[in-house]
């Protein structure tokens, strides 16, 4: 036990130190900084017992225990790292341990190759995706309908298209990002029509992102204090990251598609 704590401490020190010199990802044992906040829970049996009294004989049942034992007292556990993680409130996570440029080493994607069909992992991807697909069962029949509608609406003309990039290319880009943008959580949020997120992204020649997406309206989002907007922002960023590489463009015309502004607007889908 002692040893574990000590080791953990040392590893922390290492991790923090190394973070400044852009730690390669293969150093596997990075220990997470943030402490987990423990919350006390009332025993369900207590509640259940209380409910099991037949109503017809309404004798006042003595309470099995003092009710709470409630989640109030946020016990601080003696943890090696003192940094307290904020609980549910969507404050910015302490990401001190993140190396700033985010190296992402284990991505065997050649940076400069002309026609990159990389993704060559020593894994049976087909078998995996079969499993993954199977787990994505759609339960309600209505889902099928709404998807069909979405599919149909996707064929709308390009808005705000650059005059050099062909409309068909823009359509491809829009379709790709739309496919990766998961908005199921957003469209049920209050006032979804306001949760617009604008991202600037830059692409490498192989269609990968050349850096982290920039949130154009980040200031507005942060100042709004609207936590749903923050979630919308995370979803949009996740979408463009999940979607790369965007390898359907003509490499010869790289100058025309190396930078995009993507305006994620959920209002139409929310149907409000």
């Amino acid at each position: 036990m002692r040893f574990g704590v000590l080791a953990s401490f040392l590893l922390h020190a290492c991790a923090i130190g190394l973070a400044f010199i852009s730690l390669p990802d293969f150093l596997r044992t990075k220990v997470v900084e943030a402490t987990v906040i423990p919350v006390e829970l009332i025993r369900e049996a207590e509640l259940a017992e209380k409910t099991s009294v037949p109503a017809a004989a309404p004798k006042p049942k003595p309470k099995a225990e003092e009710p709470p034992d409630l989640p109030k007292p946020k016990e601080e556990e003696p943890k090696p790292t003192p940094k307290a993680e904020s609980e549910p409130a969507p404050k910015p996570e302490p990401k001190a341990e993140e190396p700033a440029p985010k190296p992402e080493l284990p991505k065997p994607k050649p940076q400069e190759k002309p026609k990159p069909k990389p993704k060559q992992e020593d894994l049976d991807l087909d078998a995996l995706s079969a499993l993954v697909d199977k787990s994505r069962k759609s339960d309600a029949a209505s889902d099928a309908d709404s998807n069909a509608t979405l599919e149909a609406e996707r064929a709308r003309p390009a808005i705000g298209a650059g005059d050099r990039l062909a409309a068909s290319e823009i359509d491809k880009m829009r379709a790709a990002v739309s496919r990766c943008w998961n908005a199921s959580a957003i469209i049920g949020a209050p006032e979804p029509e306001k949760l617009i997120v604008e991202l600037d992204i830059d692409l490498n020649r192989d269609g990968t992102l050349s850096g982290a997406p920039r949130v154009v309206n980040a200031l507005q989002i942060n100042l709004s204090g609207n936590r749903f907007w923050k979630v919308a922002e995370q979803n949009a960023i996740r979408a463009v990251q999940a979607c790369q590489p965007y390898d359907f463009f003509d490499p010869m015309r790289y100058q025309e598609w190396k930078a995009f502004t993507l305006n994620f607007d959920p209002s139409i889908m929310a149907g409000f």
Binding site: S8, K30, V31, I37, P38, V39, L41, I42, A45, L47, K50, T51, S52, P54, A55, P58, K59, K63, L70, P88, P90, E104, K107, L123, L128, S129, V132, R136, K137, A140, S142, D143, N147, L150, R156, G162, M173, R174, V177, W181, N182, A183, S184, A185, I186, I187, G188, D200, R214, N222, K230, Q234, I237, Q241, W257, A259, T261, L262, M269, A270
Partner: protein
């Protein structure tokens, strides 16, 4: 907050400086996939074999909760590449990206020195490599289901911004016997169908239209007797005690707590006509809120306590009206064909759910309190009696899918997606969602 803002400004400035205007191609993304978000939930780790088994059980409850929400689809565990060793070790994100997971929920169960368990969880964004949140719950070991629901609530909130609703319960009417002589008893269960417990014995009366107090472990419902008018009751879930809410010659029915839990709105019938009343629980003082020769039923108060919606047939067919909480300013808000009944104000305040009857079919729908934006979410032979999840995103109601089929409970997202049957031991109606458990 200020630091955040400054950072944001800096980020914005850098963004501007780095990219010459005009070089960017601008695209509006107005369509998204509304598939459930793929999420990985490996079995929660446990030190010894006891904890490992418990970890697996807890994971099962979490997965079922998240899956049922319709917002997430849990990827089959057999596809997972990385085997996590500790909740405190940073996962190998590439291993989770490769199976298309967008989010990873890592957890661990350990025994505390005082013999309880601690369930620790971290939620990871697999693409940004960032932790979206972390939490741990300490609880007696036999309370593990609630700990699991709390974890699911935490994951839900981390990913939607909305409070979760998994650590909640449902009270409903459990129906047995032939239609002409139906036994109707109150039953309570966890939101996921676990731990069903009967609350009333059904011998002397049929229990109808139960509703949870928003503040206490208490239910109000209507008892329908033989040969005397039905009456509104209060039922204390903790003690099993119940009491009639006042004694009246006429029938009292359609009760519903006000959002602060201090009063019960209900209808009372006098000489055949029903109006809306309000009873203050502390003093048992009854106040009349409507006085109209038409039927006024099903009152429901807005979460800010300022307005009340109800059903009235004063204009002919039943429609929904809204008035101030003192009964003034009564105003009709629905004008569609057919009949509108059972308005229920969303705990979020932005919508009113209702039952609509139109050309022999029943619908559950939502409408804004000003009467705009009506949307129908479900349709069947009989869909009735919506109740809101405490976060105002999910509705439960009961359905008789076809003529003669028994009633069952269903849930649907307020977007109309993710329609699902709710597991109950038998025929069930009149569901009412509890507030989050304490």
């Amino acid at each position: 907050m200020i630091r955040q803002a400054v950072l944001a400004i800096l980020a914005a400035m850098i963004g501007f400086a780095a990219t010459p205007a005009g070089a960017r191609v601008r695209i509006d993304i107005t369509q998204a996939n509304v598939e459930p978000m793929p999420i990985a939930v490996p079995d929660f780790m446990g030190g010894d074999s006891d904890m490992t088994g418990l970890g697996r059980d807890i994971t099962g409850v979490i997965m079922a909760d998240l899956d049922r929400s319709g917002l997430f689809s849990v990827i089959d565990q057999r596809a997972y590449v990385e085997k996590l060793s500790s909740v405190d070790v940073r996962p190998r994100f590439a291993d989770w990206r490769i199976i298309n997971a967008q989010v990873l929920v890592a957890g661990e169960v350990r025994q505390t020195p005082d013999g309880r368990i601690e369930v620790a969880t971290r939620v990871w964004d697999v693409y940004s490599n960032e932790q979206l949140g972390a939490v741990s719950f300490k609880t007696p070991a036999d309370n593990w289901r609630r700990a699991a629901h709390k974890v699911a609530d935490f994951v839900y909130k981390s990913l939607t911004g909305e409070e979760g609703y998994f650590d909640t319960r449902i009270v409903y009417v459990y129906e047995t016997g032939p239609k002409e002589k139906r036994t109707k008893r109150l039953m309570i269960m966890d939101q996921d169908g676990a731990n069903p417990v009967l609350l009333t014995d059904g011998l002397n009366y049929q229990a109808l239209t139960p509703r949870f107090s928003p503040t206490q472990q208490q239910i109000t419902y209507m008892a329908l007797f033989d040969n005397k008018p039905g009456q509104v009751y209060l039922f204390n879930i903790e003690t099993g005690e119940q009491e009639q809410l006042g004694t009246f010659r006429g029938m009292t029915f359609a009760p519903r707590f006000t959002p602060d839990g201090t009063r019960v709105l209900m209808s009372m019938e006098r000489a055949g006509n029903s109006d809306v009343f309000q009873m203050e629980l502390a003093t048992r003082r009854l106040t009349r809120l409507t006085d109209n020769p038409g039927i006024d039923v099903s009152p429901t108060m807005s979460p800010d306590g300022r307005r009340i919606a109800f059903t009235s047939d004063r204009g002919g067919a039943e429609q929904i009206y809204v008035m101030n909480s003192d009964g003034s300013g009564q105003k009709r808000i629905t004008f569609g064909d057919g009949r509108y009944q059972t308005p229920v104000w969303s705990p979020r305040g932005d919508l009113i759910a209702f039952t609509r009857l139109y050309q022999g079919r029943f619908y559950i729908g939502v409408i804004r309190p000003d009467g705009s934006g009506e949307r129908l979410l479900t349709e069947s032979y009989l869909d009735e009696g919506p109740t809101w999840a405490p976060n105002g995103r999910v509705l439960m109601f009961f359905r008789e899918a076809s003529p003669g089929s028994g009633p069952s409970l269903w849930s649907v997202d307020l977007t109309g997606r993710n329609l699902r049957r709710v597991r109950t031991p038998g025929d069930s109606s009149d569901p009412a969602w509890s507030p989050p458990l304490p």
